[in-house]
Structures are given as structure tokens and as C-alpha cells.
Assembly symmetry: C2
Homo-oligomer: 173 residues x 2
């Protein structure tokens, strides 16, 4: 009986499972990706117990990954008055999701890489020829490229949905 899910819920089930697998390829933990998929397709905010039940995972696991999603700004906590539980709601606007992920990845992954590259370039800045010079140049090239990436990201991040589309269309039209 409790098996009688409406058709769209079956599709949702599939989506959640598969998004989880795809997530692992992106270097995101499976449960986190599944919870994100679940919340992105939730008609209403969900509480921890609902997530646990739906994905058949433990409370600790659900809790940790929900809070990680919150720390990524992909999910926010909702409270209802007269109810002490926390509910979780995912951002559904695709553009906003993209902006958020871009920001976080920039901060967590690109910027540390740039620091490393500059450090390595600085340590070899006096090399005037040969392999040392080439190494130094390689570090500078990588730095330049990633810094350019940051510039692109910042430009995109500062766009609102509408203008972004306009920009994109001009670019590819």
C-alpha cells in the first residue's frame, strides 16, 4: 500500500538515486548529492526525519550532510511557528544554484591553488634560463589562467538571471 507512489514520485526516486551516483563523479559525497536532489524536488521543506526515512539513512548521516549543504548555501533552514523542528529547503533557481556553487568552489578550490602557484613562482623568480626558468613560466601561466577564471566567475556571479541570459545569447547566437 505505502508502495503506491504517484508516477512523478517514481521519477523523483530515480532522479535522487542517479543524481547521487553522478555526484560521486563530481567529487561530492553520494548522500549529500541525494539529499540535495531530494530537496530540490521537494514541494515543501523537509525535516530531518523525513529525509532519513526517504533515503533510509541514519540520523547522524542525515544531520551531517544537511548541515554541510547549509554551509554550502545550497539549503536553508526554515522554522515554522508552533513547531520546534528545523525544516530544510533547497534553492531551486538553477541560476542561483550555479552562482552559489561557483562562489564556493572559487573560495575553496581555486584560490588555494592560486596561492600555491604564486608561492612556487616567487621561489623561482630569479631563474634566468633552463628548466628553472621554464618551471617559473609554467607556474605563471597556470596562475594567469586561474586568475582569469576567477575574473570570469566574478563577472558571472555579479549577474542577475535576466542579464545573464541576455549576455549568454549574445555570446552564442
Amino acid at each position: 500500500m505505502s508502495k503506491e507512489l504517484p508516477e512523478w514520485e517514481k521519477a523523483r526516486e530515480e532522479f535522487v538515486i542517479q543524481w547521487g551516483s553522478l555526484g560521486t563523479q563530481w567529487g561530492i559525497n553520494r548522500t549529500m548529492a541525494q539529499i540535495h536532489a531530494l530537496l530540490m524536488t521537494a514541494p515543501e521543506p523537509m525535516c530531518t526525519d523525513e529525509v532519513m526515512e526517504r533515503l533510509e539513512i541514519s540520523r547522524g548521516n542525515a544531520h551531517t550532510n544537511l548541515k554541510d549543504l547549509v554551509s554550502w548555501n545550497l539549503v536553508r533552514i526554515i522554522t515554522k511557528k508552533g513547531d520546534r523542528k528545523e525544516y530544510f529547503e533547497a534553492e531551486k533557481d538553477v541560476w542561483k544554484i550555479f552562482i552559489t556553487i561557483s562562489k564556493e568552489r572559487k573560495r575553496r578550490e581555486i584560490e588555494p591553488a592560486i596561492h600555491l602557484l604564486r608561492d612556487c613562482a616567487a621561489r623561482t623568480k630569479d631563474e634566468s634560463a633552463g628548466p628553472g626558468k621554464e618551471f617559473n613560466q609554467q607556474m605563471k601561466d597556470l596562475d594567469e589562467f586561474l586568475s582569469f577564471g576567477v575574473k570570469v566567475a566574478d563577472t558571472v556571479i555579479s549577474m542577475k538571471h535576466a542579464s545573464a541570459l541576455q549576455w549568454a545569447m549574445r555570446l552564442l547566437g
Copy 2:
């Protein structure tokens, strides 16, 4: 004695180690990232034994990761005449590396996601209202966004370095 590395080699050592750590955050295995870093900064193509020795890893590990890098088109095999060994050389041009990675990620990660989204959208295309309809719309929105991403990637992929920079400058100038 064998410890007396030139200064640039010390910086390279640092680069290799740290690039390995950064790689894990990107969902890339540490050894693979380290080998890539090592080869990107190698004055000459390196053979398996040199990689093993430099990173202090086993032959099996070196072999597997070198071949994975080759399958990502980030590294190519070089043979020298009169020498039966295979040597490995990484692409050093930053723009080409970027293009290559974009292509591979598109194929391995984005396209499967698009298939999933279309499948889920198709299964719910007749939903005319309520949560089912919203789910369908969400799938379509995600599809549209990723498809747009593919379009951008294709545009970028088809660019040569020079025109890409030109394009980028116009965009951000």
C-alpha cells in the same frame, strides 16, 4: 648528497605535493594529480621508473595512473628510437589543458546528467498541475541550464588560444 636539489626542484617538489592535495578536493585521486603535476613541470618526458622513484609509489600504481592520464588525453606516450621504454609527456599549454578537461568532463559528467534529466522530464510530461508539474519543470530547468553549459563549452572548445583571449578580453574589458 642526492639531497642537493636545485632550488627550482624544491619548489617543484612542493608544487607536486600540494597539487596532489588540491586534486583530491576536485574529486581527482591524489596520485593522479601528483603525476600530472610532475609531468607538467618535467623538462623532458619521464618513464615509469622515474615517476615511481620520484613519488615513491609502486609500479602498479604508477602504471595505472599514467594510463588514466593518457585516457584523459592530458598525457601522451613518447617512444625514443633504440629504446624500448615508454616515456610520458604532459600537455603544458594551459589553454589546451583546459579544453581537454572541458571535453572530457562534458562527455563523462554533463551528458549523462542531461540524459537523466530528460528521462525524468519525459516520464512526467503529462503532469498538468501541482507537485508533479513542478517536478517536471525543475527537470526541464536543470536540463536547459546544463544544455546551455554544453553550448558554452562547445564554443570555448572550438576556439584557438589567441581568439579565446580576444574573446575573453572583450567580455571582461
